[in-house]
């Protein structure tokens, strides 16, 4: 594996920046630029580089879709959220419609925000493309077909002219796909979800989203730590604060930044990437969660430092 590329990082529902949020960013940038002059675009770029991420950029609003770049010719994707649409468009722009490609797509579960991108995945409509969709739910295929049934969507699944095949992955078993070792783990979420461990060439990536941790069973904690053991990157559902996750949003099926840090520390993982951001959170709010999480790691560190990032649409992590 060479790198991770995020196409959709938001939880539950796609969101978009509002006009007032953009205006706020402009105001912050202008205030910071007071008294400065920019003779060239490069000068301006350097100034922008120094701004807080929430002022100069955005975490984005597409729902879950993550690409694992393996170094091989075939694409590997986690989840079919709305981020699948820009991924598909980028793949088409790169290869053109006349050059068939192979896509391996691993699905955590079939809740709406994790499958809604498929009807808008342009490569799925092009004959010659091969799409393998993997998961550990027996109802994976029926759920994807159903979302395109009338009257929910105007284009039936049968209009997808790529060669689409569904493949069941037995949980807790090691599978080999596109040169990757792939293992799935059952997670606590309404209707069940599955986490993925991908390994290749001495690198390992965990994709664990829509996963609630009840925190009342040390054995369960240890089993997650074992699944995460030594991972280079753990992409982790950090949708809620811990207080919310164990109180008003208990049994909603999600986790927190605090649990992410603890599990990664127990597992000796190297990099925790906060993912599946709460849709009501502004860029500033996610920035604050990131800063808090880094501080928590710092004050509770007992071994090697754990890198912390917050995923945004377009972010890449080199492996």
């Amino acid at each position: 594996m060479k790198r991770i590329r995020f196409w959709g990082t938001r939880g539950s529902l796609p969101v978009a920046l509002t006009a007032s949020a953009v205006r706020k960013k402009i105001v912050m940038a202008l205030r910071g630029a007071s008294g400065k002059t920019f003779a060239t675009d490069a000068d301006a770029e350097r100034y922008v580089e120094g701004l807080a991420f929430a002022d100069a950029g955005t975490y984005g609003g597409h729902t879950s879709c993550v690409e694992l770049e393996t170094g091989g010719p075939e694409y590997v994707i986690c989840d079919l959220g709305s981020g699948l649409r820009p991924f598909g468009n980028a793949a088409l722009a790169r290869h053109g419609p006349a050059s068939p490609q192979t896509y391996h797509i691993f699905v955590s579960h079939v809740h709406w925000d994790h499958i809604m991108g498929l009807p808008f995945f342009a490569p799925a409509y092009i004959p010659g493309n091969r799409i393998f969709i993997y998961g550990s739910h027996s109802w994976l295929e029926s759920a994807l077909r159903r979302q395109q049934d009338a009257p929910s969507f105007p284009v039936d699944f049968s209009f997808l002219k790529a060669d689409i095949q569904f493949q069941y992955l037995e949980p807790d078993q090691r599978h080999t796909v596109a040169g990757l070792s792939v293992t799935t783990m059952l997670q606590r979420h309404a209707g069940d979800s599955y986490g993925y461990r991908f390994e290749a060439n001495g690198r390992s990536v965990i994709y664990t989203t829509d996963s609630e941790h009840k925190l009342d069973d040390p054995m369960e904690t240890e089993s997650y730590a074992a699944f995460f053991r030594g991972a280079d990157v753990v992409i982790f559902d950090a949708m809620y604060s811990l207080a919310d996750a164990v109180s008003v949003r208990a049994d909603w099926g999600h986790s927190s930044n605090v649990v992410g840090v603890e599990l990664c520390q127990l597992a000796g993982a190297k990099h925790l990437c906060l993912f599946h951001h709460e849709p009501s959170h502004s860029d500033q709010a996610i920035d604050a969660v990131l800063a808090d999480t880094r501080r928590l790691e710092e004050i509770t560190r007992t071994g090697q430092p754990l890198a912390i990032s917050a995923a945004y649409d377009g972010m890449e992590i080199e492996l």
């Binding site: 925190l215 604060s241 811990l242 930044n257 605090v258 603890e262 928590l296 004050i299």
Partner: protein, 130 residues
């Protein structure tokens, strides 16, 4: 980890000592069970003196949340006091400082809830000597 307790009128002060992690949280939960029963029966207050807590994990914080739910359901109350700086930061980062009453000292916590308990607490303190 060990947990002791003292009672001042309708306030129970629980004093856990050590680290509360995903292994030791169960011991804390077990130690709290009789204190919760008493506080529920009395519709009293359970105040945690965290002066001896060096670290608390999510599993430990969950125990506090479960305790808070049980107490509040019976009309009893909960507070936390004497947090060490690291533990105070964990409370802030986890947002537990927004859902549990956090006080700088046990005395201030008791003062918030019960004059009778405050009088008992003050009477129990050693008298200052010259």
């Amino acid at each position: 980890m060990e947990t002791s307790s003292r009672q001042f009128a309708d306030v129970i002060v629980a004093v856990p000592v050590g680290r509360v992690d995903h292994h030791s949280a169960a011991a804390l939960e077990t130690a709290l069970a009789p204190l919760i029963r008493t506080a529920r029966t009395d519709k009293g207050v359970l105040v945690f003196d965290f002066a001896g807590i060096d670290y608390i994990s999510s599993a430990g914080l969950r125990v506090l949340m479960v305790t808070a739910k049980e107490l509040r359901a019976a009309g009893a109350r909960i507070a936390v006091a004497n947090l060490k700086p690291v533990v105070a930061e964990i409370f802030a980062i986890s947002r537990f400082d927004r859902v549990l009453g956090v006080f700088p000292s046990v005395r201030l916590a008791i003062e918030q809830f019960s004059p009778a308990a405050l009088a008992a607490f003050d009477a129990a303190q050693p008298t200052a000597t010259q």
